[in-house]
């Protein structure tokens, strides 16, 4: 496995991990949780944007196409 030599103590861990307090200050779990929360907020903000019409239109078209194909078949 290609471990980052500068960061040997940073074992893989889930977002809410509370171990690893011996890491350098800027990578303590508390700070990383803050970053994790900001990332989630950033992502959620984008996901909250209304769905562009082009997609609902596209799916409507595809749906209509396939049901008219079905009738032909």
């Amino acid at each position: 496995m290609d471990e980052d030599p500068a960061n040997k103590s940073a074992a893989p861990m889930p977002a809410t991990n509370t171990k690893g307090a011996t890491q350098k200050p800027e990578t303590t779990p508390l700070v990383q949780d803050m970053i994790g929360a900001r990332l989630k907020a950033y992502y959620a903000r984008i996901a909250e944007e209304p769905i562009p019409e082009r997609f609902t239109e596209l799916l409507k078209q595809l749906d209509e196409q396939s049901s008219s194909n079905e009738k032909k078949a």
Binding site: P12, P14, A47, L59, K60
Partner: protein
Amino acid sequence: MSMPEGTDPPKRDLDDFPGLLVACIPGLRAFGITLTSNAERADDLVQETLLKAWKSQKSFERGTNLRAWLFTILRNEFYTQLRKRKREVEDADGVYSNSLSVPGGQESHLDMQDMRLALAKLPHDQREAIILVGASGFSYEEAAEICMVAVGTVKSRVSRARTRLTELLMPPDKSNVRQGNA
């Protein structure tokens, strides 16, 4: 959603499929935007994803994870396009970061901007790992399947991404509070 029948999917499932896809669009867009730092390219990825998913909907096993399936398609499409673009122009990460419009107030806008720039600085493999696990809500196992790597690889990528994001967003030098001027 419990119609495990052979041959042609029943009409009800066909009716269902668009609705299921629509429900996944917000997450797909967010994934695309975080991958590309570009709303337009992200929406093209989403469009491709929807088209491909539609065409191969019969191969999708009902009852399995549709969201993970769609994310896998979008990710594959992203790398296909990336390889094409790389051949055309050597794009530096973040070149497109100004073309993404994000709604919101001043302060949160800055916050969003910082996160976007920081994500754009991560290597692709780390970026997708931290987004899938840390924002999209996939398990390590699901992310490993989406990225087609071992679970351990995802874990180490997420870990490194987290460390790198922290360095980028919370520089040890606290006196330097200017942000977003990368």
